[in-house]
Structure formats: structure tokens, C-alpha cells
Symmetry: C2
Subunit: 332 residues, 2 copies
Amino acid sequence: MSGTNRRRITSKELAKLAGVSSATISRAFSPDSRIGSATRDRILAVAREYGYQPNAIARSLNNQRSRLVALVVNAIGNPCEAEEQQLLVHRLQARQLLPILLCCADHSDRLQLMRLASTYQVDHVVIFSDMVSMQDAVDIFHTTRPIIVSFEPLENEDVSNIRIDGAVGAGEIIDKIVGDGKKRFAYLSGTKSSWIDKLRRKWFADALARHGLAFEAEAFGDYSYDSGFKEAVLLLHRSKVDAIICGNDVMAIGARDAARRVLGKNTPDDIAIVGQDGIAMAAWDCNDLTTLSLDHAAFMDAVVEVIERHEAGDEGPHSITLACTPRWGSTA
Amino acid sequence: MSGTNRRRITSKELAKLAGVSSATISRAFSPDSRIGSATRDRILAVAREYGYQPNAIARSLNNQRSRLVALVVNAIGNPCEAEEQQLLVHRLQARQLLPILLCCADHSDRLQLMRLASTYQVDHVVIFSDMVSMQDAVDIFHTTRPIIVSFEPLENEDVSNIRIDGAVGAGEIIDKIVGDGKKRFAYLSGTKSSWIDKLRRKWFADALARHGLAFEAEAFGDYSYDSGFKEAVLLLHRSKVDAIICGNDVMAIGARDAARRVLGKNTPDDIAIVGQDGIAMAAWDCNDLTTLSLDHAAFMDAVVEVIERHEAGDEGPHSITLACTPRWGSTA
DNA sequence: TATCGTTGTGCAAACGATTACACAAACGAT
DNA sequence: ATCGTTTGTGTAATCGTTTGCACAACGATA
């Protein structure tokens, strides 16, 4: 309480103040350990008085459990990821687990970053980023069993993972757009190299194939509004597509703006535009995006469920798949 | 490399393998310590072979420095914060500092959360959230000297902080809007209780006063699009304002949508709408918001500069103030 | 050759908790 | 009065590093 002293008091010092041994101090802070309730109350009172809290670093060293979780993400600045991550952080906090954030975007050295985090003996690793390879993650966190979110399935590796399946939802969306008379489709990828992006594209490509259609044009962005805008302009200048499926919602908004502003084409009559993710912004009145949407809360519930199984000692690997469903807006 | 063994190798074991003592292992990983370069090379080679990395938890315990930074934020799901936070995370990572994320939004117990983080002996604390009181932060992190971002100035506390000053910029914006003939202003707050929100309101109120005007109506939201939309509807139904200053950009977009969709009023002719923050989304073609904007990169540079001074032993308190400048869009 | 830095290494004590083990006190049952 | 069990506490080892101190080996100097 007397908050001005610079150094934190240790259990040994508190022990002296309370007239007990440091072992007893420790026991006072462990819910189920043999200790007299009078002693415990006295210790907790003295601890409060001197602002004592057990040092989590020392405890982690002894326990071999840090209660830290590494969150490997592309970026938190992009709402398409941040909304999910926020939900996960809340769930972790509720379980007294603290997230360490690793942002892989830009030109940071992803491998070095993961190696650094791994030296902190994190109890769990959740990989959102599609910019790190699963093999790298497994190698670097070889004592931790990472949980991979929506990642390439490799048969020979036993890694827990949460996958998404939008085949059905993508089919419904394509049916609707084709039914509205659109015939010439383009796919605007979020990134050139990621497996998840290829998977998402395949859902739509398969659905098109059922109508005897295929993507007539392709472009690659970087999940950002600006890239969605720019690539859509180029795309619409070089080919006469009347529907664009985008890698995420933010790019879809960029593409919609580009079509409207630069080409003078409006959704859904002149051109259909579809996003993916179903972030809150997609439902804003100014966007009202048609998008292949994910139940983010259920998604993060699944992550937490796997974490809890790992904590219980059942390291799986566990695999959970969630379906994506269309959100119908006015852009397609 | 042989990534399948579950336990991490320790310096003592590596010492045996390399035929040296564990002290020498440690020295091999400390850039400037007395060690033969032949020995170091050999150790590093063996370390690579067995996948050894020094345990950061043990090191932190010994060093009394964890290289962890607590980031106390409201939410990362809201782009108005996430963009800044992303920039800070990159800057920290570049310095081998790892951020622990604490999200205060919703109903998490903020104090308990901060206490938990403080037990990890974080080297620095950066408080973005306006939902925690400065006094609480100082009490809980009494060994760490938190850095407060845009917070209430208390004379008797020595806390480093970064402030923003938008008095001039707000003046320019008000001048323009009044010049366009608007006379009846409302302020749509981001939150009822935060000091920073009151400060921002004051910049605009003072500017209005110079024109002999004052806010005719007030409303309070929660920094979200939905609250911006809902409060704007109520506001516009109960009073005839022709300009709304909003607590952040997301709320401004909500208010703009509400005016357009529910009331049929368009910006900037029927109503002027102004945001605050200057997030990327404000410049999107579909928004093109007039907003009192902050240079986020400079802002986070300032945070890092204070952190570096603290690391150098100069605990200040340091205080840096940055000016906000208007971004002119088509909404006002 | 004796002396003096310099360099490289090992020993052992921290850092601040947790916990197996030992033991004394208290208690109930015979 | 005796024994066995339970309860509460202290002692000391442990977790995996870092680092002050001691010391041996070495080359350079006089």
C-alpha cells in the first residue's frame, strides 16, 4: 500500500515480518495446501500491508509452467484479425493466462521472434498468422505443441488445429450470384503464398465449377484496404469481370470503393463483390457486405477448448472444424 | 534440430556435452564477456545441434529484468486503438522486448488483471486504456514506473506520460465548419468517465466559444460504431443540430451512417460530422472523414523514447506532448 | 629467470519461489 | 497411559541462469 518503495518484498522478508518460514508464506498463497487457517489469514493480512505478491517468474522457474501464451499473429491493426484475437485474449485472461503478442507483419524476422518467445517457456502457442510455416513453428516450439489456426494439414505432423470449412457457404453465395446473372468471376487473394488463402479460393472455384464456370482473372493483395482498392482497379481495367470474390472483408471494401469511384460501377447491379471473415464492419450500414462469415466467438471457444485439453495433459492432437456461413448484404 | 524430444536441454547438460562448465555456456551467449572465441564457436555449434537456448525465465530471475512490457489497452478489436498498438508492438519487438497484452474492455476485473501482470516483473508498463485510474496503475506497478498515454495530469505524481494537444487543430476545424454556416453543435463522447474524452471535448468547446457558440447537445457512447449510430439517432431526433463532433473516428462513421440512413441527412451539406484519431479507415474512399488526426508513428516513437530513457536509468518523469492536426475529408 | 598483466575457465552463491521430507504437537480411541 | 493418525510448520533441495572471485596458463617485459 505504501506505494513508494522501489523494490518488491520477497517471501523470505515477509516470512521474517510474519514470524514464519518462507515455505509457510508460499503455502498461504496456494489454495489447497496444509496450513492453519489462522496462520493463513495473518499472512495474507501482512502481505496486503506490505504489498507482497508471489513473484511469477520465480514460481514459473520452479513449476515449469509459466501461464504465458504466445499469440502469433500477422497484425492487430487489421480488424479482420483483431476482432478474433480480442475474443481470445478475453478468454485467456479469464483463465489467468497472459498472452504474449508476436506480430509477424512487415519485415520483422518471424523466426527469430518465435525463438525469442519460446525462451520464455510459454505454456501454449496459438498461431493465427499464415506467414509462418507450420514446420518452423513445430521446430521452434518443440516443447510446447502449438495450436495452429486454419492451417495446412500435414499428415505426418501431430499438431492440434482449428480449421474452417466454407465449401457449403461459398456454394450458396455463388449460386445466388450466378442466379442474378453474373458470369465472369475474379478472385482477389489476400496473399500469394498462404495455404489458407488457396483453400478459401478452392471453395469458390469448386462452386463455380458446378455451374460450368471458372475464375477468369486473379490478383494478389496483402489483406489491406489499399491493396484491395489497387488490385481491383487493375483487375477491372484488364478484364471484364462482373463479380469479385475477395480474400477478406477489408479488401472487399477496398474493391467495392475502387469499382464505384474509379470505374463508376455499383454493387450489386454492375458488379458483385464478396468478402470473407464476417467482421463487425461488414455489417455497418455504409458497407453492408455480402461475406462468407465465421462465428468468431465459436472459433475462439474452440481454441480455448484445445488449450484446456492440453492443460489437462491430453495433447491430442486435437482437430476441430467450423463451418462458415453467408452473411447477405447488398454487395452481391 | 531433432525436434521431437519434449524437454528442453539445460545449460548444465549442454556444458557436459561441450566439456565445459555451465558458466562458460552462459558466457558464450553473452556478447561481451571474457571467453575464448574458439570455445564460444564450439559451444554455439553444439547448442545449435541440440536446440539449446538460454531459459529466459531463469535469466530474468537472476537479472531482475524480464524484457517484458505490459500493454494495458481497452480493446484491440477497435481499430482506433489497434493501429497505434500495432506500431508500438513492432517497435518493441525490434528491441527484443515482448509485449504482454491486457485488455480492459468488457467486464474483466482490470485491477486483478494488472496485479497479475505485475507479478511477472514486467520492465515497463504502457497504459493506453482510459478505463484504469492512474493512481491504481501507480500503486499496482509501484516498482515499474508506468508510462501513461494521454492521461490526466496529476501534479503530485511523477509518472512519465505522453499527451496530445488538439486545441489548435480543433480550432481550425471549428472555424471551417462555422464558416460553412453551421451553428448548432453536438458532442458525442466516447465515454462518460474518461479524462481524455473531457479534454478533447474542451478543445472543441473552447473553439466554439471563440465564435460565441457552445454545444447544444451531448451524448455518450462507448467508442463503438453501434453506439455512434444509436446515439446519433437519438440526438438528431431530440435536437436540431447541424454538426456533430465525435469522440473517435469509428463513432463518427456510425453517426454519419445514422444521419444518412435514418434521418436522410447528407454530409457535409445537411450536417457536418467530425471524428478524432485519424485512423487509416478515415481516409478510405467510402468514409473520407474530416477528423482531428494524430501522427500515430510519432506518437509511438515518443512512447519508445520514454521507454529507452527509463531503460537507461533516467526515470524522469518524462513528458512529451504531440499536436493533433486536421485531416480534411468530405464530411465537414 | 622472475615479474607482471592478460586471458580463459571453473566454483559457488545468488535470484525468489515451491515442495518432499521430517518432525513436533494435538487429538481420539483403546 | 499408549498408540496411531492428523495437522501445521520448518529445513533444505530444486528450478536454470548469471556473475564475482579465484586461479592457472600464457606471453611480454625487464
